[in-house]
């Protein structure tokens, strides 16, 4: 799954949105997602990708696509990534 698709799933789940609403160009503020919501969103991203996001979230993330770009940047900096669609919660 692409970063976009994963992010869209999380947004749909956490913010009661439809797939149409979370198009790449959709504005975060237009979707009712403010800075505190974004922080909570990042917890979900951390869980999904087994990331630890240490830096402050940039204040210029305005669209869904901006967040995709930010996540991809974090994944690239981390190095060899866990496959995005691996089942991180599998036991054994």
């Amino acid at each position: 799954m692409t970063t976009l698709a994963i992010l869209q799933d999380i947004l749909i789940q956490e913010f009661d949105l439809t797939r149409e609403q979370v198009a790449p160009q959709a504005s975060l503020s237009g979707l009712g997602i403010d800075s505190l919501d974004l922080l909570e969103l990042m917890f979900k991203i951390e869980d999904r990708y087994q990331l630890a996001i240490r830096d402050d979230i940039p204040s210029n993330l305005e669209t869904v696509q901006d967040v995709v770009g930010y996540i991809d940047g974090l994944l690239a900096r981390r190095g060899p990534p866990v496959a995005p669609d691996a089942d991180l919660h599998a036991t054994g």
């Binding site: 956490e14 913010f15 009661d16 009712g32 505190l36 919501d37 909570e40 917890f43």
Partner: protein, 414 residues
């Protein structure tokens, strides 16, 4: 000084999800106290409480729930009931002259508890961003203000067990002084999380679980009483300038005629007969009523060893010989102690009793403490009682005493 009308009431309480259900339960002597069966509470000495069957997910969207502690959720539901009950149409109101007044003792306790758990138990830095906003004591009042667009005074009072009686009295005073016309006033408390229950347990003032029937564990005025039982819930009133209410043909439950506010200033927990008596006298004075006008007192009646005889003595000092004809009951025997929301719930019960001509009982009172010898309406409610004025007492740790008096709409003792 203007007169204050009570035009709407709403509750979300251990005994009912609305005022009608609350009164059905009260008059049947039903207890909302139960054993807490969730494994999280196993370690408590007395795992009992009066909880509310309420799932926020059924009332609020996911995105909103993120920001709302249970205390704010309960408050908003109860306020909505009160506003609907009052048939309050705010679309034509001067919203700068409408405000909110809330009492709470613990604020967003569960949010706070969860945050501390994350920090200290999980040793994680992933504290939820909404932790401060969810736990702050003024959150319920602020969300109510936002919901209804009310730009007048928005205040939160925290005086422990008298918080919402204070919130109601202070709101009424603002209306009486002409500063505002409408106030949504009441209280909310959602303290039933492990940390809070543990902390209360540490004071050794909580009731033991009754061996025969956990629901009977709260026994105000009884020789067998063992302490208080915590509860959760919210209760709200719509208070309105009387002229405004009459002009719009509002349903008027009662007049909020008296408010007495005193402080013990003696001890951080032990109640004072003088302080309580002074509060009741102050309420009577503010209502321009003689003690003999009061037909029912909803007591503070926590069932702690300290409160009940002190309150009994204070009532005797204020009411004198009228005590022989004055029913006094503690409905905490059924709904538990809602702490910051207790004053509001009990005042709603007093007003509702006034309207219905009923006396809710003090349940689980078989053998009274010898120092407690008033008519506590023991064991069974009474109906068909002619009531013109009722009193509700709230006395608190820290010593802030608040007493409210409500009168029937047509009552004029002059």
């Amino acid at each position: 000084m203007r007169r204050v009308a009570i035009t709407g009431m709403g509750v979300l309480a251990p005994l009912g999800a609305d005022v009608a259900e609350l009164f059905t339960s009260l008059l049947a002597g039903r207890s909302g106290i139960r054993r807490l069966t969730q494994s999280a509470f196993e370690a408590l000495r007395s795992p009992i409480a009066a909880d509310v069957d309420f799932d926020g997910g059924a009332h609020f969207e996911t995105a909103q729930l993120r920001m709302l502690d249970r205390v704010s959720q309960l408050a908003m539901i109860a306020v909505a009931q009160a506003v609907a009950d009052a048939r309050l149409d705010l679309s034509n109101a001067d919203l700068d002259r409408c405000g909110v007044s809330v009492g709470t003792g613990s604020g967003g306790a569960a949010t706070s508890d969860e945050g501390y758990h994350t920090i200290y138990a999980e040793r994680s830095d992933r504290v939820k961003p909404y932790t401060v906003l969810g736990s702050m004591h003024n959150a319920p009042a602020s969300w109510i203000g936002i919901e209804y667009g009310l730009r007048g005074p928005n205040l939160t009072y925290s005086t422990a067990c008298s918080s919402s009686a204070v919130a109601i009295g202070e709101a009424a005073r603002r209306i009486a002084y002409g500063e505002v016309d409408v106030m949504l006033a009441g209280g909310a408390e959602a303290p039933l999380c492990f940390g809070v229950l543990r902390a209360w347990e540490a004071m050794r003032t909580m009731a033991s679980v009754d061996a025969h029937d956990p629901a009977a564990s709260c026994r105000p005025f009884s020789a067998q009483r063992t302490g208080l039982v915590l509860g959760e819930g919210a209760a709200f009133l719509v208070l309105e300038d009387w002229q405004r209410a009459a002009a719009r043909g509002a349903p008027i439950h009662a007049e909020l005629r008296g408010y007495g506010l005193t402080t013990d200033a003696t001890h951080i927990t032990r109640p004072s007969v003088a302080g309580q008596a002074a509060a009741m006298r102050a309420a009577l004075r503010s209502a321009h009523l003689d003690a003999a006008a009061i037909g029912y007192v909803n007591a503070h009646g926590t069932a702690t060893l300290q409160n009940d005889p002190v309150e009994t003595q204070a009532i005797k000092e204020v009411f004198g010989t009228h005590c022989t004809a004055l029913p006094v009951s503690s409905t905490k025997s059924m709904h538990g102690h809602l702490l910051g929301a207790a004053g509001a719930l009990e005042f709603v019960i007093a007003v509702g009793s006034l309207e219905r001509g009923v006396l809710p009982p003090t349940m689980h009172l078989e053998a009274p403490d010898p120092a407690c010898d008033l008519d506590y309406v023991a064991g069974r409610a009474r109906s068909g009682v002619a009531l013109a004025a009722v009193m509700s007492n709230s006395f608190a740790f820290g010593g802030t005493n608040a007493v409210l008096i409500a009168c029937a709409p047509g009552f004029d003792p002059a």
